[in-house]
Amino acid sequence: MVRVEFLGPIQKETLELEITNLNELAKILQDDKEMQKWLENSAVAVNDTLVSSREYGLKDGDKVSLLPPVCGG
């Protein structure tokens, strides 16, 4: 099971999914109308490390986080 968290202003409950890479997560989230605007501008971290490829493999127990545009300070 992979845990998917939505950070900051993304109003979506955490998901628990049986997926093995980010491609599968992309397909699931693209079907969610509310999520489409966030997919454009959100970064993705796996186990709190930012990743840059959708081919990134996932294993049981991994945590995926979606990070929308930031503005600290």
């Binding site: 950070l7 900051g8 202003p9 980010l22 997560l25 992309a26 989230l29 693209q30 489409q36 997919l39 454009e40 501008n41 959100s42 970064a43 993705v44 971290a45 709190d48 490390t49 930012l50 990743v51 840059s52 490829s53 959708r54 986080s65 979606l66 990070l67 929308p68 545009p69 930031v70 503005c71 600290g72 300070g73």
Partner: protein, 145 residues
Amino acid sequence: MLYLYDGALDVPTILKDWYEQEEKSNYGAYIPFVGTVRSEDNIDGLSFDVYEPILESWFKSWQEKAKQKGAIIKMAHSKGDVMLHESSYIAAVFSPKRRVALEFIDEFVEDFKASAPIWKYDLKNGKRVYALDRSTAIKGSGILK
């Protein structure tokens, strides 16, 4: 060091504590950057969400960069609500050399704005409104679109 506080920062105390922590460390230059909530667009204040695990690893990578230049950095940020004319952010660099310090504080603050996992909301009429138009997509965003 990275310090997170609930609500506004006590600026004089933080600037004093950091100065005194490094007073005898033989740094020639100490440059803090203090960010204060401005009155604009009829806001009552700002509110912040912070994702600490990634903020900490981001900050750690900057500590390494500072170390390579013989410098150190410190940072404080608010979580939750910060009202008008209160401060939500302090970053500081200590360095033996002034040029290193002046360049480092600039690079650090700019990367902080572009990369640190913190989300800002306007407080307006009791509501918390995400400040999308002032926010920056983290480098590498959009891979799931």
